[in-house]
Symmetry: C2
Subunit: 335 residues, 2 copies
């Protein structure tokens, strides 16, 4: 029998924990036979949820952790002081090789800090970027970095480009992924100091397929597969994506309710529209990997329901089977 | 008779010049009696367009300029060498007091450089920001700076906040405009170096109503009236706004064409939907003012049609009548 891929899940993190987390874990284990899930958290609460479902006890295991890191806690202090918190216990399993990956929906800050302090960086990786998939007209693009390293330097961005390429090629199956840097104009001389310094470095980089600058306007159309940016810009892109989408959809819905004929029309377009808009829903891709760590750390939305949790756990299987970290380790060393 | 408000328009700038520019100027002059428009450009071409319409010759005048600055030209060099270009000639009219305002749809770079080099900054203004209105669920917010000053310093952002407040209060009629700084979290300790330095300065600033950080997600809902950011971030926000909007609308349209019943429904919802989406169209607000100059400089979209040109020209009337520049001059000096 081949060895199972082991994922340690923070059962206490997120707005709907432990209920939706446990449900998502059961769904994931049920849909992939190569998977073993550890649900880390307050035993009583987790077991109370778990017993609602039929599951294979050889594939889902509860691991006790008595503390929970709250959203508002300063991350560094929380990771250091709450040794028996679900995040710390689950991440230690990754560090010790008892698990291949960590999935959590709790405090982003705590997941980022824990990833660096507990799991640790791959040798040569300067800064681990948070890299969610964002929906586009053509499918999905990887936004790297979307919030882990504000005020990053050019050398960091070059590593982001390499790691993002490896991810898109081997996890998402995109051949020769197109890499672009977020800029305020298409010309090479445009940009702020960081972009102007990074652009020639990306151009010289032989192991990526660099296609130049990308203006924010062209991101939703799917013009590039790997979208490289500093975390402050990346966070704006990710959140505005959600914000404009939500506002427009709410306005469309309200707009369709303004007259009798539009209300009738709304009933008729609803199924088709729902399908279309689902394609533009960020939650379908599961969580965002924090790349460049010795083990996989995946951060899912705080508001994650079971589907997103399940997708985040399943993502770890491809990542681990494709030996992404070995590829990153080799790629970061290359020119 | 009261004195007319004089607007010098670059008749040669933009994708649809001179046709749509001339048409927009005729519309503006026709809808506002206090206005005099100078159409600056190649006399023959401009007159050929102008004679298509009935207009009051005391209120529209053609001013000759033999050269045109092209989109691809390096801005500083173009402004310096093409002395008889439509942008330079029109801006000189503002500098010399022959016009109160400039409106142009041509090269953004040339308009920004010309504004600073020819029209000149108001004493005390460190950097003039480009500040478009962006649509929100509640109306519109001012995005300041959206592209004029990359790598700005904290003191610049504080001035942007002051100028933006004055604009929203006196041009848009918003009482006590809410000012927020774009950030990657709501807490005061979040952000990059620039935001962390600027935040306390905005908090101390007595002549604005500062409400703290705004995450990009909350911009479309209309959470703040004045959205302060560095130009690189602002440009991303502006362009992603357009990009996500365009992609979603195109997907909604396509989605509605997928089945017979949805096609029928589409016919019924179309009028209501059109009205809703028009509210989210950036062009309805005319161009973006470049604030802090001795005279008003307005940059409109390169793709502007007559309506946007007309709105941009009309915007100059309120700006001038409300003595915005005198208020900026007084405000920048204040603590």
């Amino acid at each position: 029998m081949q060895e199972l891929i082991k994922v340690a899940v923070d059962a206490m993190g997120g707005d709907h924990a432990p209920m939706e987390i446990v449900k998502g874990a059961v769904e994931a284990a049920g849909s992939c036979e190569e998977l073993k899930v550890f649900l880390v958290g307050k035993e009583k609460e987790v077991n109370a949820e778990l017993k609602k479902y039929p599951y294979d006890p050889s594939r889902i295991e509860v691991v006790a952790a008595s503390e929970v890191i709250e959203m508002a806690e300063p991350p560094v202090q929380a990771i250091r002081s709450k040794k028996d918190s679900s995040i710390v216990v689950a991440m230690k399993m990754v560090k010790n090789g008892e698990a291949d990956a960590f999935v959590g929906a709790g405090s982003t800050g705590a997941v980022l800090v824990g990833g660096q302090l507990i799991v640790g960086r791959i040798k040569g990786v300067e800064r681990p970027p948070l890299a969610p998939l964002i929906p586009t007209e053509k499918g999905a693009s990887l936004l790297i970095d979307c919030g882990a390293n504000v005020d990053a330097r050019p050398s960091h961005l070059v590593q982001f480009a390499k790691m993002g390429s490896i991810y898109m090629e081997h996890v998402m199956g995109v051949k020769k992924p197109r890499v672009a840097i977020v800029n305020i104009g298409a010309e090479e001389e445009k940009g702020n100091a960081l972009v102007k310094e990074t652009f020639p470095l990306l151009k010289e980089c032989k192991d990526i397929h660099f296609i130049g600058s990308i203006e924010a306007r062209d991101i939703p159309s799917g013009y590039a597969d790997v979208i490289v940016c500093e975390a402050f810009a990346g966070n704006i892109i990710l959140k505005l994506y959600e914000g404009v989408g939500a506002t427009l959809i709410s306005m469309v819905k309200k707009g369709m309710m303004t007259s009798l004929s539009s209300k009738l029309g709304a009933l008729l377009v609803k199924p088709a529209l729902k399908k279309t808009l689902k394609r533009f829903d960020t939650s379908q891709y599961g969580g965002a990997p924090l790349l460049g760590l010795k083990g996989l750390v995946v951060k899912t939305h705080g508001s994650s329901k079971s589907t997103e949790v399940c997708n985040s756990i399943l993502q770890c299987v491809t990542f681990t089977k494709q030996h992404i970290n070995e590829k990153i380790s080799a790629g970061i060393g290359a020119k």
